[in-house]
Subunit: 220 residues, 4 copies
DNA sequence: TATGAATGAGGCTTCATTCAT
DNA sequence: AATGAATGAAGCCTCATTCAT
């Protein structure tokens, strides 16, 4: 049973792409396990079972591998968000926030890694193009959220503060929720962990909601 | 007017300690300005106006300098916290949280740096002793907080969930608040920045308070 | 109209040879344009529109490609020289020198490249066989020239110094003329360039002539 | 017998500079012996008996070492030339040319190496500053020569062609003379070598002279 | 005591060559 | 026969740390 020539070529291409994904996955695992600055290209290659040179057939540099991880993650987060926004549009006001928290908390280690990567690559001119792409995706997500927030403010559901306050407060809490997973006081059993994250997510979903909080200004 | 021998020795010690502080301060500034992985010992020495070898008279290694920055910061945060706890004991329930947020948001760049440093040094055996010290300080702070939270729960002020939920939620939000300062969507004018941080701090101070939120469970 | 089997094979061989020439030509252009050490086999293949593996069907190594360029050039120079020698034999004493200069100055970039290649490959054992071939061609040329020079010395036309002095002086000047084309002080207009090269060639044609030079302009 | 502190510091600086010269010398020898592309920084360090890192205390990069060799050589050639120009000014018309040939032929291997280096570094942006310096020195030399040539043309000593023809022709012949030393037909005994180089130098000193050359032997 | 020159392990990247398809 | 993905030796350079002065 022979394969056609085009079929063979397709298979080859697929193997090539698979290998690319293998590199990403291996790099991702190593970066999460051993920390941003401890992982070398040689190690990625060796753990992926390929030669060092092969890595450079797929990526121009170590920075590009990292950048790719960031972009993949940003795209996946943005997609989750879009689903959440659609659900909110259909009348479920908490859906965006929930989607947002869920997508970020689905793999806290990855989320945290991506934060580290962003700090690391921020000033790296060699990936500025991809960084710009990433910012584009993010800006587009943020815009969708802000549009939605404005609607919810108009609808009297959210407190009337500058719309991005809501987004950024939510971002901040999610960020903190991610980090809390790595807090050393938090080596608890899984149940407790889930409970806490739900506790925090609930805060995220209600904070800024009109009426429910701040019946009294408690500060100062 | 000659100085006594002991006085001379005291002066010498003081100069030595001043120099040590100079190294710490210089390292701190460089680490904040140029990022964790870009700063070399040579640079610290040069910017501090001393020789590289001198740095090693004060610190065994680069990691020890970083560790020292962490310890200093942890101690200062713990002190602020103690003040807050005392105020809360005297009947101002929000004071701890406020103190906590204020101490962490007083210098977000430093707070963030210390987070980075912790990740960086977590697995570094050469500083495990100091890391243990740091954890001791932290555990002690956490214990004080949890004690207080338990009182507030008993007093019906805070929601009755495992006490450390309150602490960790608060920690998470503060963490997020720190990070939000470096969010690229957040290059706003100062006023807006202050407003947002107050918005977030207020959330921190009310979240978990009984009665005010969660009159309806909004999730699932 | 079907082709005979031998015809098909001939065509195939021709295509193979064409491809070989294509590789040589592409390599040559790249080497001249971008410099000896900047050109990679991958680049040659890509610019020639063939696969990297194919290059290795034609040449055992990168060094062999370079060697081939040298041999081709040496053969072509030797041929020009033979023509010049014949003309000199027929009574035109300047013809050899003129032919020699013209063949080397016809493409100074190529001549210079070949010099670079020779330095590069001199000690490369993997091409010592071909290098020996090249030396054979060269030795044969030199012998012809020396024979001729001896006749011209006997005939009282050239100064009576060891015959190879004349050849080597001529070689030196030609070498210099080639290099002068790349001298940075020499970014002149074309006219000036031509004038200078003629000036130098004239020197080459008269130098070592007995008694006097240039009482009459001897060229064209 | 103790040394003063300043004296100690001076010694230290001197040792540092000596080491720098050692690196240059070692690099020079290796480059000449084994060819431009075969020499690695590790090798230079090892042959100089120092660590690899030490090389980088003295030079920013391998290219800077090469550049330094070029600059040193250019400066030394320029100095020889100045002496020759002064002698010519004092009434010895051949002195410049003689000085020029002698300085270039004093160490043909070095001269040739510098030519190779120039080709290699021409397009290297990382040394463009030093390359500019080098060109400045060279331009200054060329200007002095052209001034002198103009005087000699006015004085009826040199043929009336564009002044830089004389310089470039001379340059070309010197270049060729250098290369001839490495010509494989030229593995002669030393005497023959000297004779040939004198033959060529004489050509250099008479070429372009008005009326006639070599009615008298003009050298030495 | 303070210094900074010296060190070399270790990181990233390139590229000639091989070989399975 | 043609291809190009895979390989890994080898090169350049950085920087934490040491140690002689």
């Amino acid at each position: 049973m022979t394969l056609s020539s085009t079929e063979k070529i397709r298979q080859k291409k697929q193997r090539f792409l698979d290998r690319e994904q293998l590199i990403i996955d291996t790099a991702l695992n190593l970066l999460i396990d051993r920390g941003l600055e401890k992982v070398t290209v040689a190690e990625i290659a060796s753990k992926a079972g390929i030669g060092k040179g092969t890595v450079y057939k797929h990526f121009e540099s170590k920075a590009q591998i990292m950048m790719r991880i960031m972009l993949d993650y940003q795209r996946s987060t943005a997609a989750s968000l879009r689903v959440g926004i659609e659900a909110t549009d259909k009348g479920n006001p908490g859906a965006v926030v929930k989607a947002y928290f869920e997508s970020r908390l689905a793999n806290p280690a990855l989320d945290r890694l991506v934060q580290q990567l962003e700090i690391r690559l921020e000033a790296d001119a060699s990936v500025s193009d991809q960084m710009e792409q990433l910012m584009d995706i993010r800006r587009s997500s943020v815009k969708s959220i802000n549009d939605m927030v404005e609607k919810l403010i108009s609808g009297g559901i959210l407190e009337d503060v500058p719309p991005h306050y809501h987004y950024l407060a939510c971002w901040a809490l999610a960020q903190g929720a991610v980090d809390v997973c790595f807090n050393r006081e938090f080596d608890d059993e899984l149940d407790s962990k889930k409970g806490l994250l739900k506790f925090i997510t609930d805060i995220g979903m209600t904070m800024g909601n009109k009426g429910q909080m701040r019946t009294k200004k408690p500060t100062q």
